[in-house]
């Protein structure tokens, strides 16, 4: 059981490393989005500091979302997904492996980059820590929920945009608690409550989403 999960992770990581440009691009997308908002909104430092948690969280969320279509699409197009579905291993476990690998190449690096961008917005140090931690804690849920959406929209033309449509509403709670945690820190309330809700979302997402995604994939293959 564990073996097949870890093997799927290893395989997906290897594929991701064959194209380091992908990983780098997710990060740059994050950087660019985080820099676009100040452009659209104007340069006042106070305003920007107020915006920072929201903008950074939305950026992380969009960056994760953009990398979702690739989660299954490649495997679908070249027939690998059929083979996975026909393998004697439970498909849910393989999806779990793919979700974890996806997080390792998207959520994790985003979390590590977030504090650097937060500095640009002049966030105080404790808020930076909470920002990093909240993204670290919240992004697995994004990958998990995203997998369901990616499974449901698999093989549909324009699936990418349809995928956003399905997934974004489900991302909203993560966004609210994530940005909320940082806001709460800035305003001195302490992020505890928000962070534990975030943890609950992630545990739910990672434990349950792969099975829903596997069911969606089976339907997509029919």
């Amino acid at each position: 059981m564990l073996q097949i999960v870890s093997y799927t992770i290893a395989r997906d990581l290897r594929l991701a490393l064959r194209r380091p440009a992908d990983l780098v691009s997710v990060l740059f997308f994050f950087i660019i989005v985080a820099s676009l908002f100040p452009l659209g909104v104007g340069p006042e430092a106070d305003l920007l500091r107020q915006l920072a948690p929201g903008v950074l969280w939305v950026g992380a969320l969009l960056a994760t979302m953009l990398s979702l279509p690739r989660l299954f699409a490649d495997d679908h197009r070249d027939g690998t997904l059929e083979q996975l579905a026909l393998s004697p291993n439970p498909l849910g476990l393989m999806v779990l492996g793919k979700v974890i690998a996806h997080w390792l190449v998207s959520g994790l690096p985003l979390a590590l980059l977030a504090p650097v961008l937060g500095l640009q917005f002049d966030l105080p140090a404790d808020a930076l820590w909470v920002l990093t931690f909240s993204i670290l804690l919240g992004t697995p849920a994004l990958s998990g929920i995203g997998a369901i959406g990616a499974g449901l929209t698999l093989g549909l033309r324009g699936g990418g945009v349809l995928l956003s449509l399905l997934v974004l509403p489900l991302y909203i709670p993560v966004l609210i608690f994530g940005a909320g945690a940082v806001d709460a820190t800035v305003s001195g309330l302490g992020p505890g409550a928000h962070l534990s809700l975030l943890a609950a979302l992630t545990i739910g997402g990672v434990a349950f989403a792969p099975w829903a995604a596997a069911a969606a994939l089976k339907i997509a293959l029919e």
Binding site: I4, Y7, T8, R11, R14, L15, R18, R19, D74, R77, D78, G79, T80, E82, Q83, L84, A85, L86, S87, P88, N89, P90, M94, L221, E222
Partner: protein
């Protein structure tokens, strides 16, 4: 071992086939025939359990495949129109990885041996993206070399292969049958498999 009874397939408003049934025993090959669009691919996907028949039943060792699921899948090897290889990985990595994901283990030596048989030695470290159409198909077929699961379902395996490769693959299927394996296959090209009992089933005649 593999039985199908009274299968019916409907696509859109068109009934592709109905009342299709057969019985295949160890060492036998079922050769599925029919013009383009007759429903051969649709039937093969049903036999794998990837799609459900409108009516009728498929049994493996006497049990309906719906009930067996995992057990059936560990007896089955399917090769479809698509090659199921990763363009970024090398032939060697593809072979090892598809074995692992199918729940088997394959030593490097066995994998290299399989690649040698399909004539890809010397390209085992080149990303598959660079291979020609026929070479990609060969990578997909290399999976069959160490394959010991009893039931092979092959959808037009000879497509894009050159003459030598066609002969080699026919031999490989023959050997599988002689080991007591079963195979269901479609192809539009005339080939002869050098062994085994061959049954024919013509769809949409």
């Amino acid at each position: 071992m593999l039985e199908a009874e009274n299968l019916e397939c409907i696509r859109g408003e068109r009934r592709l086939f109905h009342g299709v049934g057969f019985r295949l025993e160890a060492g036998e090959l079922l050769f599925l025939q029919g013009r383009n669009g007759a429903g051969k691919t649709s039937l093969l996907r049903m036999l794998c359990g990837l799609s459900l028949p409108e009516s009728g039943e498929i049994r493996w060792k006497g049990e309906p495949i719906r009930k067996l699921s995992d057990d059936f899948r560990s007896d089955l090897c399917y090769l479809g129109h698509l090659n199921a290889i990763k363009e970024e990985l090398t032939p060697l990595e593809n072979l090892l990885s598809s074995a692992r994901l199918a729940g088997e283990t394959l030593s490097d030596d066995d994998a290299l041996d399989a690649l040698e048989q399909v004539g890809l030695l010397g390209r085992e470290d080149l990303a598959c993206r660079y291979l020609s159409q026929g070479q990609k198909r060969r990578v997909a077929l290399a999976r069959l070399v160490p394959e010991r699961r009893p039931l092979w379902i092959l959808d037009e395996p000879f497509v894009a292969l050159d003459v030598n490769a066609v002969a080699w693959l026919a031999g490989l299927i023959g050997a599988h049958l002689q080991r007591g394996g079963l195979a269901v296959m479609t192809t539009h090209q005339p080939v002869d498999i050098p062994a085994g009992q061959i049954r024919e089933l013509r769809l949409g005649a």
